[in-house]
Amino acid sequence: MPEQAEPKASARPSQAALAGVGLGLRWDFLEEVLDGPPPDVAFFEVSPENYLGRGGYYPAALERIRERYPIVSHGLTLSIGASDEPDPSYLRQLKRELDRLQVPWHSDHLCFSTAGERVLHELLPLKFCAENVGRVAERARRIEDLLERPFALENISYYVHPGEPEMQELEFINGVLDGCNAGLLLDVNNVYVNARNHGFDPHAFIAGLPLERVLEIHVAGHEVLASGLVLDTHGERVVSPVLALLEWTLERTGEVPVLLERDNQVPPLAELLGEVRVLTELSARALARRAERHATRA
C-alpha cells in the first residue's frame, strides 16, 4: 500500500477541543439523547439546514444538547461549485446559526446542488477542471472569512463524471485545497464508493491527499445495487472494508475527530452507539500503531 510523508501537525486547523468519535444527530433519536442515559459519544454533528428558519421543538432540543455535548456543523446546500455565487441570505442565516451553536468549524461538500434559482437537494459532481478548481478555491477563502471559523470541504460520492475530465479527482481536490485554507473533511466511505464505482485504489487515493489538512473524517454505510453500482445511502452499517480503510487512514492522519453518519433506515440509538464503540476501538488501535511507529523511528 502506498505511503506518504507524515503529516505536519502544524498544518491542520485547530481542533484541540474535539477528538474521538461523534454521531450525526438525527431527529429519530433526539428524545432518547435528551431523556435517556447520556450516550457515550464525543460530539454530535448537525446539518444547519434542518434548523435554519425553524422554531419549536427541534431547535429547543438542540439547544439542550449543545449544553451537554460539543456540536459541529455540516452543511448540505452551500453549492460552492455552482456558477452563481452562494446565496448571501443563506450565508447570513448560516453564520447566525453557527454563532448560536458555537461550533468550532463548519463543513460542506465539494459539489454543486443548485442550477440558478433551482435547488436540487442532491450533491452533484463538478467537472474536474481548472476553471472549477479556481472558482471553488476562491469562494472557500471568502466563506471561511465570512463564517469566521475554520471551513472544510468534503469529498463527495459521484456516480458519473459530468463530461470529459481535465484531471483526476485527486488532482481536483488537491488543486482546490492548494488554492485556499479550507480543511478537508475526508469521507472514507465516499472514497471507497468512488473506488468501487470508478475502479481505483482507495489507499493510493487517500495517500495522495494532504492528510495534514484533514479536519474531520466521516464514515457511513452504502448500498450495492443489482447493477453493481454502489450508492452512498447512509442507510446501512459501515462495512468491514470501509472500517479497515478508516483504520489505515487514521494511522496516517493521527488523531482526527471521526463521525458516524446514518440518515436512512435509522436504527435504535443503542445500535448506533454499538457502531460508535467499534469505531472508538478501531481509532485507538490505529493511533497506538501510529505511536509505536513513531517510537520505533525515534
Partner: protein, 277 residues
Amino acid sequence: MQRALESAIAELTLGPAIAPEDSAAIAAWLERHELTGDDARALTRDFPRLLVYRTLVRRNLRGALESTIPRAIARLGPRFDADFAEFLDESPPVTRLLKDVTPRFLAFALPRWQRDPTVPGYLPDLARHEALQIEVATLLARPKENVLAELGLDDQVEFIDAARLVHYDWAVHRLPEDEASRALPERARISLLAYRSPEHEVRYLELGAFAAELLSRLLVGRQSLRLALTGAAAQLELPLESELLGASARLLSELAERGALLGKTPMDLPITPTQLG
C-alpha cells in the same frame, strides 16, 4: 461549462424523462444546453448512469412531501405522480430548506386540485391541514417577555407568533391519522385556531362563528379588543350583550390558559404581519 452543465442536469432531473435509448432526444437535450465536443460525447456515453441523479433528486424531494402531507398524497393515489412531475418541471423548489418545499408545492397544486372535478373536494383542505401542522410546529417565535398580561378594551391583543387561524370547507381535522383510511370528512364551514403550546405541541381549537370572527379581527386584523368585539357582533348581527361579552371573556381566558394569548400588545413590539392561514 458549469452553467451549461447545471442547466442540463436540472432539466434531466426535474424535467420530463428522456429514455436512455433515445439518442435523438439525448442529442437535443445537449444542444438545448449548448454542450458540445468532448463533454457532449462523454455525457452521451454516460447518459444511463446520469439518470441515477434523476432518481436521487426526485426521491429526496418526494420524500420531503411524503413526510409532510402523507394522507393527502395517499388519497390522491397515482394522480400525485402527475402533479409531482409537473411541479418539478414548472415550479421547482428554490429553497435550501426542505421544510419549505411543501408550501411551494401546495401553492402550485392547490389551484389545480380546486379546478379539477376528479380530485375530491375535501382534498385541498386536507393537504392544507397537514401542512399547517408542520408550519405551526416550526414557526419562529420572537421573545415576548415584555408583554403585560392585563388587557383593556382599547388594547391590541398579543398572541404567540406560532398561531394561525384557518378556515376549511370540510372537517378534515377530524379525519383519522391513518394514511390507509379513506373515511370522508363532513362538509362544514370550519374555523380552526392552530397554535404551538409551551411544550411545543401543535394544538387546535375549533371555533364557533362569533369566536372565529372575533379572533380574525384580533389576530389577523390587529384591531383593539373593543373594535373587534363590536365589529364581530355587527358582522354576525348579534347584540353585544352580557352573554356574548361573557363568552368572549371566557374564550380569551381559555386562550391565555392554553398559552396562545399573551396579553396586551406593548407599544415597542412590532406588529406581526398578517397571520391568516
